[in-house]
Symmetry: C2
Subunit: 208 residues, 2 copies
């Protein structure tokens, strides 16, 4: 059964189990998806309210972005498990003959590249969720403003969590040029994210 | 259907919907439960490994604490919705006669007290999850150390998210003595949590 079809209770039990998947990569995507979902909720409960007529168009655009993001992040829950399984499968390839060793090594490196791209995409999506949470916190209805605050914390935790998986997988890459390029992309995404998240959180707290 | 029995996909869709529940309070509990589950996973993948024989007993104790915590936090996903619904139900009581007004006001205040206790308990459970993540990061198997890093980020986000709901509900309480006591408890829980979480995250990052 695909993870997204599992109940929350089963997902948490699977997470806690001896099995290496699902793990932190899926949790990062779930946190990001929760952030996007909360931004959508803030939009839904702001739209159509006379008091917020001035931001109606902006909220509609925000809702569309949040829903697209929620679906992307939902897909990443599964993608993380798939790339991890590929890495494990590559490591368990035969390594008796010289030819097998060469094939196995190449398969591991290919799998690690995919296992770098998925959490990097997740990190970027979470950074986007932080940006959307900021708009929700600034313009959303005061009655659901705390949900924008929860959204930004979930998105930030998702970003930092996804980053760990980028570090893990680039660490084992032999193609250092590729690894450095991906790490540079990640640093760009992380830059200022902590400060912005804290600012959004404080904005929400002061509006309560 | 109880939230924990819903699929992740459905939970996220419900979260994103026009309905005010589930909302940020449930997300806080889910994040805390994910943190506890990841600590359990680190324990499971450390126990029985010859290299980690020295921490076997400590990991066994950590696993028991993490599992208890996971189940407590799982129950809080539902509790958050229940107390929110009680607050809403109290607000919608009749307020025509003087007697009705008095009854309604008392019902709102009672509901708000419960709606303060639930996120405060969630905040305390998330703080406990931070402490357990720290042990997992310090003593757990290096092969799953990144999961301890994800756990601490999820727990911290859960803590800060639950705190927002304590602020919201204490803000509407007339019993200021009760409100101040709960806010003081919360501040005690929050104290140093950000610094410790960042330290645990950096410890994990340097072990990768």
């Amino acid at each position: 059964m695909e993870i997204k079809a599992k109940s929350i209770e089963t997902f948490l039990a699977d997470l806690a189990s001896k099995s290496a998947t699902p793990g932190g990569g899926s949790v990062a995507a779930v946190m990001g998806a929760q952030a996007a979902a909360l931004v959508s909720m803030v939009c839904h409960l702001t739209l159509g309210k006379p008091k917020y007529a001035a931001v109606e168009e902006q909220m509609q655009a925000l809702l569309e972005q949040a829903e697209t993001l929620r679906h992307s992040l939902l897909a990443m829950i599964k993608a993380d498990v798939e790339v991890f399984d590929c890495v494990m499968a590559a490591y368990s390839l035969a390594k008796e003959t010289e030819e097998q060793k060469i094939y196995r090594s190449a398969a591991i490196q290919d799998a690690l590249k995919a296992a770098t791209e998925v959490p990097l995409a997740c990190a970027k999506a979470c950074a986007k969720a932080i940006a959307l949470s900021q708009v929700a916190a600034e313009k959303g209805s005061i009655t659901v403003i705390s949900d924008a605050g929860v959204a930004v914390m979930a998105a930030y935790a998702g970003l930092k969590s996804a980053a760990l998986n980028v570090y893990v997988n680039t660490g084992n890459l032999k193609d250092r040029e590729f690894a450095q390029a991906k790490l540079a992309e990640l640093e760009e995404v992380l830059k200022g994210a902590g400060l912005i998240s804290e600012e959004v959180y404080q904005l929400v707290k002061h509006k309560l």
